[in-house]
């Protein structure tokens, strides 16, 4: 008898787009609900709304995916990240890597060619 760890999700495929939509929204709601706990657990110096915005941003990145198997894998990855975060298996650096664009000016792309040229990208 294998006892799964806390927050482990059984691997499954979505039957159709409506099923996938339900699973994605459930995963998104889990992240939103967990945002205050993440802030408290990892002692982040940002408001809870910033964590929720980042969750929204990561979900929006894949909004227009057209294939169901791809969506399944993305849902699985979201659940994996969720489990690793909530079980405190991650460390501060692993959580903060999602916020690099806000913190570090070198981790962003420039707005146009001239801005990039002035900052030294050839």
């Amino acid at each position: 008898m294998i006892n799964p760890t806390y927050l482990a999700q059984k691997t499954r495929t979505s039957v159709n787009w409506a099923d996938a939509r339900r699973r994605v929204i459930k995963s998104y709601r889990d992240w939103l609900r967990a945002a205050p706990e993440i802030q408290q657990m990892y002692s982040l110096n940002m408001p809870v709304s910033a964590i929720r915005t980042k969750a929204r941003q990561e979900f929006e990145r894949h909004r227009y995916v057209a294939q169901l198997p791809t969506v399944d894998v993305l849902i699985t990855k979201s659940n994996e990240e969720y489990q690793e975060t909530m079980n405190y298996w991650k460390q501060l650096t692993h959580v903060l890597k999602y916020f690099r664009a806000e913190d570090d000016p070198k981790a962003r792309l420039p707005h146009n060619f001239v801005a990039g040229f002035l900052e030294g990208r050839n």
Binding site: W17, V65, Q67, L74, K97, A101, E119
Partner: protein, 228 residues
């Protein structure tokens, strides 16, 4: 992409014409659609199709132009608004487009799922057949196809200040991928979202020769006298 305000009409864009799905190069070489030329591993029939995706549905009028002229133009220039991931640095080149899974076709979008840095989709890849070594050992090593990454504009090499060793910010430098056929390499580049160009090999031209042809009779004046 997620940072731009999206009007409601943007959600009606068909997957095939959405700017993120535009690619460089001839369209026939850049789609995932099975061209029927060769049989890849057999996969079960998909139970849902890309037309069920949350995008434009049939019934939307084809007469109404749903994208502005800027969005319909082909992308030759770097896209500065593309979504960055946590590995972007000041050495990262600017991509033309980053695959976001909305491209039509049946293949799984490995660029979206693999977790590879998005800056890899900015770098051009050369697909070629390495030349045969100039010895007489045979052509054993001249049949496979290799994928090679172009050098970064900045950060591919500098001198370490302490010891003078060569340091690099390019994680793909010195990496080769060996594949069996040209189509395999092109499919891989398409799947991963790499910009690629194919360099055709210089085929060796073997002229069949016979020594006896030097002594054949010719009724006309000999252009070149091969015997004395």
């Amino acid at each position: 992409m997620p940072l731009l305000p999206r009007p409601a009409t943007a959600r009606l864009l068909a997957a095939a014409v959405r700017p993120a799905s535009r690619r460089l190069g001839p369209a026939s070489a850049r789609t995932y659609a099975d061209e029927g030329a060769h049989d890849r591993s057999v996969q079960p029939d998909p139970k849902s199709s890309t037309s069920d995706a949350p995008s434009a549905k049939p019934g939307d009028s084809a007469m109404i132009r749903q994208q502005g002229p800027a969005e319909g133009a082909p992308r030759h220039k770097p896209d500065y608004d593309v979504a960055v991931d946590y590995r972007t640095s000041k050495f990262s080149p600017i991509p033309m487009r980053v695959m976001d899974g909305s491209e039509p076709g049946e293949a799984v979008a490995a660029a979206v799922l693999s977790g590879a840095p998005t800056e890899l989709q900015a770098r051009t890849v050369r697909i070629y057949r390495p030349a045969k070594t100039a010895t007489q050992s045979g052509t054993w090593h001249g049949h496979h196809w290799r994928m090679d990454w172009d050098v970064l504009e900045k950060g591919h090499r500098w001198e370490n200040p302490l010891m003078g060793w060569q340091s690099s910010a390019d994680f793909m430098q010195g990496t080769h991928l060996n594949l069996n056929t040209k189509q395999d390499a092109i499919d891989f580049a398409n799947k991963q979202g790499y910009e690629y160009f194919v360099q055709e090999p210089n085929e060796r031209r073997i002229v069949p020769k016979a020594y006896a042809n030097n002594f054949l009779h010719s009724p006309k004046r000999l252009k070149h006298i091969r015997t004395k």
